[in-house]
Every structure is written in C-alpha cells, then in structure tokens.
Subunit: 239 residues, 2 copies
DNA sequence: CAAATAGTGTCTTTAAGACACTATAGT
DNA sequence: ACTATAGTGTCTTAAAGACACTATTTG
C-alpha cells in the first residue's frame, strides 16, 4: 500500500485544551436493604444541581489516579467510606448535552456491597430504592437503569450477587438475595445445583447458624479468588 | 442527614485544562476473510509510532461529534470508508502510561462488516489476521484481545455474527461464519434450531442459490429491526 | 446416475424444573 | 410433639447434541 495522495481528515496535533471533554467517573453503588435493591446516592455540594442527590462521582485526577479504576476506588472511599467493594466498569456515557458545563464524558462503574455498610454519618450519603431514583439529574437515571439491567442479566447466569453478601452467609440467604434482585421466586433445588456448579463459594467447616427455631444451616464464604475489581470478561458463561 | 463538618476530598472547580485527560476513540473493526477472523488496521501518519499499523482511532471532536458513538462513526468513515457498519461500545481503556503524550483515555468500540468491503485503496488501510496483530503499539493489542473475547462469547448465545454476512446469505454460509469465529465445528441441526429461535433473519421468498453442483439453498436476509448501532443490552439472552 | 451440498426426522443425552420427602434445631 | 426452615431424592419436562436419512441440483 502506498502513501495516500489525499490525507483523510485525520487528527492533527492534540486538540487545544479548551476543546478537551470534561472527564468524570460515576458509580452505581448497589446493595440489598429491606428486601429491595437500593442505590447509594450523595448530595451535590455545588452547581450545577447543588443540593441534589446524585450517583457518587468526581473528576478524574490525572496527577494521582493511575487509571479510571483507580479514580473509581478513590471516589467510593471519599464519598461512601468504602474500602474494597466489588467494582466493575459499566460503560462510558458521553455527549454535548449531558452536562451544562459542556461536552462531557463519564466512565460509569457499578459497585456492590453487603447491606448495612456505609454507616459513616458525617458523609452526605444515603440509600434509595432504585425505583425511587428515577429522576436523578444529568443522565444519572439512565446510568442507573443501565447498571441495574446489567446486574440483573448477569444474575441469571453468574455468581455476581455473592458480592452483596456479608463475610459468611447461608444458601437460603443467598437465594433470597437472588430473588430480591430478580424480583421472582426461584426453585431451591435448581438454585443450589447452579451455585454449586459455579464453584465460587465454599462451606465453612463445622460452622452453622444457631438460635433460630429450626434446623441450623451450613455457613458459606466466597472463595478467595473472587476478585473485588473485575474486568468485563470474568463472569461470562463458560464456553 | 446534616451537613458534613469536614468536606471529603471532593472536586473543586473543574481541573485546569492542562490536567484534563487526552480523549480518543479506537475501533476494533472485524471481518471474516480467507476463513479467518481479521482486524482492520490503519497506518499512523505522525509520532508517536509514525508508520506503525494500529487500530483505527482519533480524537473526539467536541465541536462536531454529538457523542462518542458519533466520533466512532466519523472515524470509520474517514479511515476505512465505511458508511453504516454494525458498531457497539466495548469499554474504556485509560491510564497514565498507555500513551507517551500523557494521561489518556480511549473509548473502545468494536465494529463488524461483511468481508470484501473497504476496498478503497487511497486509504492507508489493511486487514490482518487477529493472530498476526498481537504486537500493536500502545495498548491496542489488549483492546483487540478484549474485543475478540467479547465477540466470541456473544457468538455463543446471540446472533451477533449475522452482521458479518452480506445482504443475502445461506444458512450454511452463516454456520461457516460462526465456525470461523469460534474455531470449532457446530452441529447443523442444533445450529439451525438456535438461529430460528433467535428470530433475526428471514427467508427471501423464492430466492435460492443457483449454479452450484448440488441442491440449491434458501437465501436469507437480516430482519430490518437489527440495528447497526447497538447499546450493550440489546443482544442479551432473554430473561 | 454420481457427486455434492441442502435440509429434515428422530433417538439419545443432559440440564432444568417441580415437588415431595427427610433432617434437626427451638419451644 | 409441633413448627419452621435446611437440605436431599427423584420424577417430569425441555433443550441440546448426534447422526442417519431424504431432497435437489449440475455434469
């Protein structure tokens, strides 16, 4: 192939800084609370939309963040007091009109934590049932909807919801979590078969629930290899 | 919840332009050629890596692109002469070290076209078998690997590969395309059952292949609703 | 009619769902 | 002994795979 006689409308030097998009990271933080899927929201401190509750987010700090994953971890630490939640990139939302300050771009993530975490009350933070969060500012409602859709569809064939569980849990508790996520009842036998095949949790030898008025249940924990920061390929059905 | 006495390390005004990341779009353009999965590459015109073959990409033009999808469409038009290929966002790659010019961010897409398209030879463009493209500059090899992985895994449960087919095609040709993608043989009966259930292609009434030394084959086409620009949720298994 | 590929019938194997049954704690 | 939930056995149903068989063209 020879040199092109006419150059395609190819990039010349990097665009002037003024034309560079605004780059942020936004996070859909999910948990199960009161038997419902809830999203973590923070209250904005300044314009635009000062005072409004939004998805936790922030600028990418090119001086301190190695990459966008890093920025997401930092933001969750600062805004929700979380140390190592399960975190995975969702997708990037961009455009001229999604933010009044100009052409902007948000690398969106979703994160999952067990219920009853995030109780630092010096934070402007609260949980909201996902149905009550339909009217978030910017395009945050769309980001939330996309994340919930992604999490629900992964729930159908993967072990993603184990990241909503506490350190130790029973199979019945895990099944309840799946049922709250999917908003449908699951068959106990099929559920247990599926989870066992996925091979992501393990029995804790000799550890059982006590004190309930019925037969004690085996306690389980996540297998250690279940990473907290996932690449998008890690929970696919096996080929 | 009351106002926080100590502000979290929250964003102050937007970072100065100099600290904004460099934002590009890169595209993994795929086709089947010579019975193998191949990627479309363009030759870089300037530093860094001038002369090297890379994934087609370019700056986001905040003045003319409505959003990142728009930028991807423009880049494919300019660099590969394509008008409406199937296009879907893959994920965003970012970091301090992926480009020598500084903290950069690439919104990666994958695109799929029928073979024997893109034959404008005033373009610095060529096809390369994906195995021969392991040593692309920047992190383009990783982006390519991620895209191929995504496409292969979607092939297992979706109709994605119909976008690699020409206007009209036979079921045997479609099966061959799946087999080239997955690098495995598929059972004819199961394949036809699956495709029929997906409901994405339709018989062309009375149109058959001719001239081959054997029984003619029914010709098919994509059903019109099969969008060329997909959101990530559109090809999921049904709930 | 021989060769080659298109397309179908149907049996086998595997996975998913339904659902009853047994197990074991607390009261 | 009764209740409530944990956990298992097993039959039924649906999906996937294997593979032989029929169909229809060209030469």
């Amino acid at each position: 192939m020879t040199r092109s006689p006419v150059l395609p409308s190819a990039p010349l030097p990097p665009p002037g800084d003024a034309e560079r998009p605004i780059v942020t990271v936004d996070i859909v933080l999910l948990t199960i609370l009161d038997g419902r899927l809830q999203a973590g929201l923070t209250q904005r401190e300044r314009e635009p939309a000062a005072g409004a509750w939004t998805l936790p987010g922030g600028w990418v700090h090119t001086d301190e963040d190695q990459d966008a994953d890093d920025a997401a971890v930092r933001i969750l630490r600062d805004k929700a007091g979380l140390e190592s939640p399960y975190l995975e990139q969702l997708r990037t939302f961009s455009g001229k009109h999604r933010d009044s300050r100009g052409w902007s771009l948000s690398i969106a993530y979703y994160a999952m934590v067990p219920g009853h975490i995030c109780e630092r009350d010096n934070l402007r933070f609260r949980w909201a049932p996902i149905d009550a969060a339909r009217s978030l500012p910017f395009d945050h409602a769309e980001i939330l909807r996309t994340a919930v859709e992604r999490v629900r569809s992964k729930t159908l064939y993967s072990s993603l919801p184990v990241h909503l569980m506490p350190e130790t849990f029973t199979l019945s508790q895990l099944q309840l979590t799946y049922e709250h996520l999917l908003e449908m009842a699951l068959d106990k036998r099929s559920f247990r078969r599926r989870i066992e095949e996925l091979n992501v949790i393990e029995e804790i030898d000799g550890a059982f629930t006590t004190g309930a008025g019925h037969r004690p249940a085996q306690l389980y924990r996540r297998r250690p290899h279940a990473a907290r920061l996932a690449t998008s390929s890690s929970n696919l059905p096996v080929a």
